[in-house]
Symmetry: C2
């Protein structure tokens, strides 16, 4: 398992190991013939560079940390895919950590990552408290938050214009003839959810219809939470023609409850989601929803992070992307004629 090092190469090539290093790094101050000769020897001996040693002296690891609640969440995994691809384009690798929605674990893995000397960290917050939870740590390493709006906190983040998203969504529902739209939200604390709720309310006001918020006792925006809320609605005849779920996961829960209650979507109620996770486009689901531009968010996140890493003076950036409506078939046009 003993691997061949620069010194071994140097010995064989009869040069100092500084010269070998220069040959490998593409330095100009080396003779063309010696470079060729050394590179050939490297190939012949099966030399592979040791990144750890390089990191040691360069004081950079070309490693980025990615902390997500759980990678098997479709939103997280889609983000992770694009983040990893983008990072690697720039010569960085990714260390993946799940925080499992546990604030202590989140802190632990964050500390672990700084011990690992990662050059920067991308964090998809476990929940609303993540920022305060990590505040003492984020000074130790460049960090960018993804998807959670930190409002005007002095930290970099990229998120979607949540207010605008629900605004667009309820406008669309309105355009389809819906006048009584129920909103399934999330318990307070998350400014993302706060903003989504506000966008919905604002749109209702503008359109002259009555906003109607509903929220669950579940801490997370899960299928179960959506199901729970929907069940309460579905027990008795209800005066709503549409439900706007604050996330696709909640919408999935509505689907489930509707299935049980024998309520048809979109024939009996229209349903709109938010996020456009992979699940939303599945056959039989075909959820009309508001898309978070995940690929753009991902690349923006690594670009911002890389800038913070290379330029100490770069301060912080807030990047808020525009959501778009993606129409599928969970919303019905109920206008007369």
């Amino acid at each position: 398992m003993k691997s061949v090092t620069i010194k071994d190469i140097a010995k064989v090539a009869n040069v100092s190991y500084a010269t070998v290093s220069r040959a490998l790094s593409g330095s100009t101050e080396i003779g063309e013939e010696t470079r060729e000769r050394i590179l050939k020897i490297c190939r012949d001996m099966g030399y592979t560079a040791n990144y750890v040693a390089r990191s040691m002296v360069m004081k950079e690891t070309k490693l980025l940390g990615l902390i997500v609640a759980n990678i098997d969440n479709p939103f997280m995994s889609e983000m992770a895919y694009h983040i990893e691809m983008r990072a690697r384009e720039h010569g960085y690798n990714l260390m993946l950590c799940n925080s499992a929605h546990d604030l202590n674990l989140e802190r632990n893995v964050f500390e672990l990552l700084v011990s690992r000397q990662v050059d920067g960290i991308i964090l998809v917050p476990s929940n609303a408290e993540s920022y305060t939870n990590l505040k003492p740590l984020i000074s130790k390493v460049p960090t960018v938050f993804v998807s959670e709006n930190l409002r005007d906190l002095p930290e970099s983040y990229v998120s979607v214009d949540n207010f605008r998203g629900t605004h667009i969504g309820t406008e669309y529902l309105y355009s389809l003839g819906h006048r009584s739209i129920l909103y399934f939200g999330q318990r307070k604390g998350s400014v993302t959810h706060q903003l989504r709720a506000e966008g919905y309310i604002d749109a209702c006001k503008e359109l002259g219809i009555e906003p109607n918020l509903f929220s669950s006792s579940y801490p997370l925006s899960s299928v179960q939470a959506g199901s729970q809320m929907a069940k309460q609605i579905f027990t008795s005849p209800f005066p709503y023609t549409a439900i706007f779920a604050a996330t696709d996961s909640l919408a999935l829960g509505v689907f489930a409850a509707a299935e049980e209650a024998g309520i048809r979507i979109p024939e009996d109620v229209s349903l709109m989601g938010f996020d456009n996770i992979l699940y939303a486009d599945l056959p039989r689901i075909r959820l009309t929803t508001i898309e978070q531009p995940k690929k753009t968010m991902a690349t923006a996140a690594v670009d911002i992070l890389l800038e913070k890493i290379t330029d100490e003076t770069s301060g912080y950036s807030h990047r808020i992307l525009t959501p778009t409506l993606v129409v599928r078939s969970s919303c019905r046009d109920i206008r007369q004629g």
Copy 2:
């Protein structure tokens, strides 16, 4: 950004930095009072250990590489979740790489990971050629393959008993009264798919019914592939009462095609999948399928890998896990009475 090192601590504590190292590593050959004193100073000065430096001297990084085709695939991301959690339990972190179904990229990231000095690599093969593609490299670092059966190749892998899985599945279909079961498979090359097809055929023989294989021209086992196959079937009246899809993704494609063709599942045809990906349990999908025990596979993979790492003489292991039937509602009982 200059962080405090062991030497800084040593200076303050008036000891050699060897002593500081001993205090931190829990060595016994150090006085209890000095240890306490040093640890206190570390806390006060905000010392964080440098894993890179440690890796350098210890000749181990406590890093595992994970190569998947694409992490946003639900099967991959579920595996990744459990792999990361298990690895971290044992003090290892994970470097994540997507190979994007590209053999060249797969080789590149593999080489990258050995450059990074990872202690081992877990590989969820991009496709059937992965093994031969990486053969020259896998001698450089302990590697275990996941989910792809390598038959009796001298490399460690963990997979599911694919033959048994389809066997169980067709038996179940038979028990529901189905006598004409169509199998949607995958183009050749993958021994996993080979074994699944064989299990189906064998079960048919045993049960005295006619096996009927169908496969698509798509290289990957995708929703599109399933859709394509199903469309061909659905154009004309067909004599099958059930379709057994070799993967849940293919089954999803069948759902899509059925939707378009106005064919109801399970009323008109029963549908069975394989893998039990997260999608399968979604409302409106509720796919009856064969479960790959993903968490068990994940933990087994890292356990085997860790053994290979710590014990050079451990050889290789083949771990084949038992699949189980998970009944949901895509298969109908068509027996009389």
